[in-house]
Amino acid sequence: MAVRVVEHNVVVFRRLWRGYIMVSFFTPLFFLASMGLGLGSLVNRGSGGVGGVPYIDYLAPGLLAATTMQAAAFECMYPILAKILWDRIYDAMLATRLSVRDVIAGEVAWVALRMLMVATIFWVVMAAFGVAHTFESLLVIPAAALNGLAFATPIMAFTATQRNDNAFSTIFRFVITPLYLLGGAFFPISSLPGALQAVAWATPLAHGVELCRGLVLGDLVPAQAVLHLTVLLAYAIAGVVFVRPLLTKRLLK
């Protein structure tokens, strides 16, 4: 029955898809053009790219991971709180054959689909810039989606506890944006101060960035890939484990 919750999202999305697709397309386009090519030409001239890799090749997969993080965070804040609190969509759903478990499974599946969409469009732009050369680089699409899920489910659990949307902008300001800028997408984590490096590696994004970058550049070390996947999965599963009782308590009083 979780698929019914996905259907609901699809029906609503059908009205809004143009806007979403535009954002998913133009964000990588502008970033790769300005930062990748523009700023990249300076980087490449000064130091021969990052570790011998042209800057745009270094940047693009990292930016993909950061983008799915940001998109997943957004999807699991305002739209979910609206369905809990403002529009009471979940109350209406739970008066039917659907259960809280279906709602959670459906929403997680929907975020996964959305992240696959975002990552696919991003991959197309990367390919247009000549960054994604290989067939294997297509694997970056599910990897980036998983990176998104590692943020999605814990944030969903957080949203299940909120009475208003005040905390969301705080999370963006103090968690999502700093990670976006400092979490390894734009420059190596190793150039951060020591304490911040440890913090960065404790978050899913650092692992998502490394995984995506390895898949696109084709230099992934299997043992490290396993570590990155494990961390991302652990966050995603932990989020689901927490969201279940929190959402049940919230909706079934």
């Binding site: 029955m1 019914r4 259907e7 609901h8 029906v11 609503v12 009205r15 529009d87 009471r88 969509i89 109350d91 209406a92 759903m93 739970l94 008066a95 039917t96 054959r97 659907l98 259960s99 909706l251 079934l252 009083k253």
Partner: protein, 312 residues
Amino acid sequence: MTDSIASPPISARNLVKRFGDLVAVDGIDFEVAAGEAFGFLGPNGAGKTSTMRMIACVSPVTSGRLTVFGKDPEVYGAEIRGRLGVVPQADNLDLELTVRENLIMYARYFDLAWSEGRKRADELLEFVQLDERAKDKVDDLSGGMKRRLTIARALINQPDLLLLDEPTTGLDPQARHLVWERLYRLKQRGVTLALTTHYMDEAEQLCDRLVVMDKAKIAAEGTPRELIAKYSTKEVLELRFPADEQPAIDGRLDGLADRVELLPDRVLLYTSDGEEAAAAVHRRGLRPESSLVRRGTLEDVFLRLTGRSLID
């Protein structure tokens, strides 16, 4: 499903609902028979919605025993809900979707095929006279139209039991009569109805049996007629005095009726003979601005049992 023949649609024994320290439902017993229309009356906060939500399997029972179609909501929630139609106290229609889409989407939540959902949606829109608004956004409907759409939505799965929490609050008289007529038709088709209301005429019109709840408990139970016979009198004399004289009335009507009720705006005398009581009031030298004899109603029962006017 055979259980609907064997077990009553709803059965509650010593049912309790607590929210922290607050006791919203305090050990109530009732049973609703198949095909019956059963009402919950009571002042604000009496526990009607809390009871309805437990029956709807969206609110865990604190203690006591509740069965719906003979089954425990905690174990068989999804299965029971598949046979329920629910009209919640506050509308929760999907504002992102059109009127018709709301019904079709809801059909999907009951696992009906898209084509079946579309078919039923069109039938139901006609049933609640909203077929001309099918393509409109829900947000553009008036409050009463939204209410009717919510009722239509509750029927999409052809429920055996319909739970209606204040179904006609906010409806104009015409729309209210439409809803009553539709509910009556459903009842004739064998659908069991459980409803809450603040309108005594609605309760008298629709309910075969009802309970009056007060402070989380059931204060009385019976058919409307039984309740009127037991808690009211055959006739009621309503007197209105000029506002400044009303306080002085206290005590001067003693002995003229079985019971005297002083309300802020009027005085009620419960008696078997209203005309005679009116004459007696006159003989005591009292000159009310207006006096009216009417039959005892559920409203009098409500007042007697809860000590409150209807909507306070």
